[in-house]
Symmetry: C2
Subunit: 406 residues, 2 copies
C-alpha cells in the first residue's frame, strides 16, 4: 500500500465523459490498495472565460477578486470528479483549499504555497476515501482565496504530494510525457523515460509548457517523484527524478524554445559606469522582467550598443519607459524587434563535456542562421534568432545532438 | 445613515453590462451615506448548466457534491460585482459564506440558515466598504458548503438583513413588484404598493415565483422590511410589511396559481379507521409531499373515494408506491390526472369578511368551470380545476374581486 497523488489537467477533465475516464485511472490505484489524493484543474476553457470576465474591468483589476472569480472553475471539477468516483463505487469527497487548508502567502494571482495542514486529509485517506482537491488555489493570511498562477495545479499536486509524503505524483495531461523537443514541430522527437529535476526546471522555464516551473522547483526541493503521462493512453510517461537515478547521462536531453520573446537594442549608449543601472532600474520599477542582456565592447570607449530581451507582452511598455528617459540615457536610437525566438539546449551532461555550445553555433551557422544574443548557464545554452528560423533551427539542433528517433 | 441590504437576482446580473447597471443601484445608496451589503445570485443560466452537469451522474447524486459544484456560480458573480463597484470608485470586496461565516444545518441542497456571525462584516461595513456576498449558500456543521434551495439567495438576503439589523432589504429582480395576479396572463393586473408578510407568504407558497417562501417566513419572523423592485426601472416596487402598516385592507390582495400540481383519485377505498394513514404513510416515507386532500362521504358506509394532489414531478413515483400496495389498500381503481391547476385567492381582509369563498365559487360556475378540490385557510381559498381553464379562471376571479386596473 502506498500513497499516490494524481493530477488531471484541463483537457483531461474537459467534459463529463473525460471526467469519467479520468476517474477510471483513479480507480486503478484504489483497486491496487493505494491511498489516493486527486488534484483537478478547471474544465478546459472555463478558466479562460472567467479571466475574460475579469479583464472586462480593465488592466488594473483587484487581484483578490480575480482570485475569487477564477478559482471557481476548479471547485466545479472537484465536485464532479467526486461524483464520478462515487458512481464507480469509490468513496470520495471534494476538498476546497480552505477546507484542508492550503495556506499561501498574500501574492494574489501568483501566490506561493507556504504550508499544507494534513491532519484532516490523512484522516480522510485512512478511511479509504479518495480526496479530490481543487487545484490552483489556496487561502492567504487574510482568509481570502489566492491562486497560484497559470498552470498552478501542477504546483498544488506536487506540494500536496510533498506534504502527504506520497510515493509518487502522477501528472496526467494531453501529451504522453516529456519529449526531446516539441513533437508538433519535430516529428523525430523522442519521449524521454527519465529526466532530471534540473533539466526539467530549465525546460519548463525556457518554454516547454508541460509543467509549471514552480512545481518542478518544489519537486526538486522535496524529492517528489513526478511522472508526466497521458490520460488518454496506457504507456508509461516520463519520470522526473534526481540526477543520481539517471545512469547514462545524455549530454543534451532536450531542446526548448519560446516565441514569447522580444528584443530591444539601444544604439550608442554612453559607455560609463552606472548606465546599466540607469536603464534597467526603471524597467524593473515598471515590473518588466529583462531576460538576456548583451553589451558590445565599444570601439571608441565612449559609446556602446546594448541589447536585451523582454516578453512580447511587455515590449510596448518597455519601449515607452525607455523613450520617456531618452534624454537622461542619451542613446542614439532604440530598435525594438518582436520577431525573435529563444532556442535552448538543455542537459546535465553538459557539465562534463566541452564543446557543446560550439556544436550548437556551428549547426546553426551551417543553416545560415544568424545568432543575435547568447546566454548560458551550467546546464543550458540559449540563443536568440529570428523567429522565422524556428523550425529549421530546432530541426538542425535535434539532429546535431543525436536526438532524432531512429 | 442607515444599513441597507440589496439583493440582485440572476437576470439582474446576467452579463457584465447588467452587473455594471446593478452596481449603479448600489452606488446610489452609498452616495446617500448608507452602509450597504449586496447579495448576488449566479449569472442567469449558470446554475442550470451546473445542475445539468450534476444530473449526468443520475438521480441519486451526493447532495454535498451538488452543493460544492452549484454554489460556484454565486462566487463568480460576487467577485465581478466587487470589481464593478471598484470601477465606480467604491471600496468593495466579495465575501464567500465560509468567510463571514453563514452557518446552516446539514440539510445539503435545501439547508436552513442557523446563525450568521456579523463581527467581521460589521467591521468591514464600518470602514465604508461595500460587502458583496455570494447568495444561496452557507457552511454546514462539518465545514462543507451547503446551498439553500432554488431561490435561496432571497433567503440569504433577508437573513443577512436580519443579522445586520438592516433598515431595509431591497430585492432587485426582473419584475417591478408584486402584482395582484401574474401580469403575463392578466393584462389588467395591478402592482401592489404594499402587501403583508402573511399574504406574501401564501402567494409565494401557492405559486407566485417572486420570492422564495422561506425568505418571506424569515422576514416575517424578524420584522425585516422587504421591498421587491426592478433593477431595470426607477419606479418604487412593493413593500412587504406588517399587517399593522396596511391601513385599508383589501379583502383579496392577489390571485396565485400553480401548474405544478397533479391529482390522484383512489376509487372505492375501504371506509374504515386507519385507511388514510395506510395511504399517506408510504407516500411520506417516499418523501412525497401531499397537498390538498378530499375524502367523499361514502354512500353505503363501506367504501369511499379519496382524492389528493402531489407535485407533477412526484406523480409517477406516487402512483408506483400506491400500486405496489394495492392489495393492502384495497381500492377499486387509481386515476391519475396531471392536467390540473391550483388557483388561490389570498387576502388578510378575508378574516373579517363572510362570503368570500362563495363569491369565488359563483364566479367560476358562471364561466362553466368545474371545481375538483377545495382547500381553505385563514387568509386563502384554493381550488383545483382543469389546467385548460387557467386563463379564464384567473381572469374571471380578477374581475370578480375588483382587482382590475381601471
Amino acid at each position: 500500500m502506498a500513497r499516490i497523488v494524481q493530477k488531471f489537467g484541463g483537457t483531461s477533465v474537459g467534459d463529463i465523459e473525460r471526467i469519467r475516464n479520468a476517474a477510471l485511472r483513479v480507480k486503478r490505484e484504489v483497486d491496487a490498495g493505494n491511498e489516493v489524493a486527486v488534484i483537478v484543474s478547471a474544465m478546459a476553457n472555463v478558466t479562460n472565460q472567467l479571466v475574460e470576465y475579469v479583464h472586462e474591468f480593465g488592466a488594473l483589476y483587484d487581484q483578490k477578486e480575480y482570485d475569487a472569480v477564477v478559482s471557481s472553475g476548479e471547485q466545479v471539477t472537484s465536485g464532479l470528479m467526486a461524483l464520478a468516483l462515487q458512481e464507480l463505487g469509490i468513496p470520495a469527497r471534494s476538498w476546497l483549499s480552505w477546507q484542508i487548508p492550503i495556506h499561501t502567502d498574500d501574492a494574489h494571482g501568483k501566490a506561493r504555497i507556504e504550508i499544507i495542514e494534513t491532519a484532516e486529509a490523512k484522516k480522510s485517506l485512512a478511511t479509504g476515501e479518495v480526496m479530490v482537491v481543487a487545484g490552483f488555489q489556496g487561502i492567504g493570511p487574510d482568509n481570502r482565496v489566492t491562486t497560484l498562477g497559470r498552470g498552478g495545479s501542477d504546483t498544488s499536486a506536487v506540494a500536496l504530494a510533498a506534504a502527504l509524503e506520497a510515493e509518487r505524483c502522477d501528472i496526467f495531461t494531453d501529451v504522453d510525457g516529456v519529449y526531446t523537443c516539441d513533437p508538433r514541430i519535430i516529428a523525430k522527437a523522442r519521449k524521454l523515460d527519465k529526466v532530471t529535476y534540473e533539466e526539467m526546471l530549465e525546460m519548463a522555464s525556457l518554454g516547454s509548457k508541460v509543467l509549471q516551473p514552480r512545481s518542478v522547483e518544489m519537486a526538486m526541493k522535496y524529492g517528489v517523484r513526478v511522472q508526466v503521462r497521458s490520460t488518454f493512453d496506457e504507456a508509461n510517461g516520463t519520470l522526473i527524478v534526481d540526477e543520481d537515478e539517471v545512469l547514462e547521462k545524455e549530454v543534451i536531453s532536450g531542446i526548448a524554445y519560446s516565441r514569447d520573446e522580444a528584443k530591444i537594442t539601444l544604439v550608442r549608449v554612453a559607455d560609463k559606469p552606472g548606465v546599466a543601472a540607469d536603464i534597467f532600474g526603471p524597467l524593473s520599477e515598471a515590473n518588466i522582467n529583462v531576460d538576456m542582456i548583451v553589451q558590445n565592447v565599444s570601439e571608441d570607449g565612449a559609446a556602446t550598443d546594448l541589447t536585451f530581451t523582454v516578453t512580447k507582452g511587455d515590449l510596448a511598455r518597455a519601449v515607452a519607459v525607455l523613450e520617456e528617459r531618452r534624454d537622461d540615457l542619451g542613446y542614439a536610437r532604440l530598435v525594438p524587434d518582436p520577431d525573435v525566438v529563444k532556442i535552448s539546449i538543455i542537459g546535465v551532461g553538459m557539465r562534463s563535456h566541452a564543446g557543446v555550445a560550439q556544436q550548437m553555433f556551428s549547426a546553426l551557422a551551417k543553416e545560415g542562421i544568424n545568432i543575435q544574443v547568447i546566454s548560458t548557464s551550467e546546464i543550458k545554452v540559449s540563443v536568440l534568432v529570428a523567429e522565422k528560423h524556428t523550425e529549421k533551427a530546432l530541426s538542425a539542433l535535434h539532429t546535431a545532438y543525436g536526438l532524432d528517433v531512429s
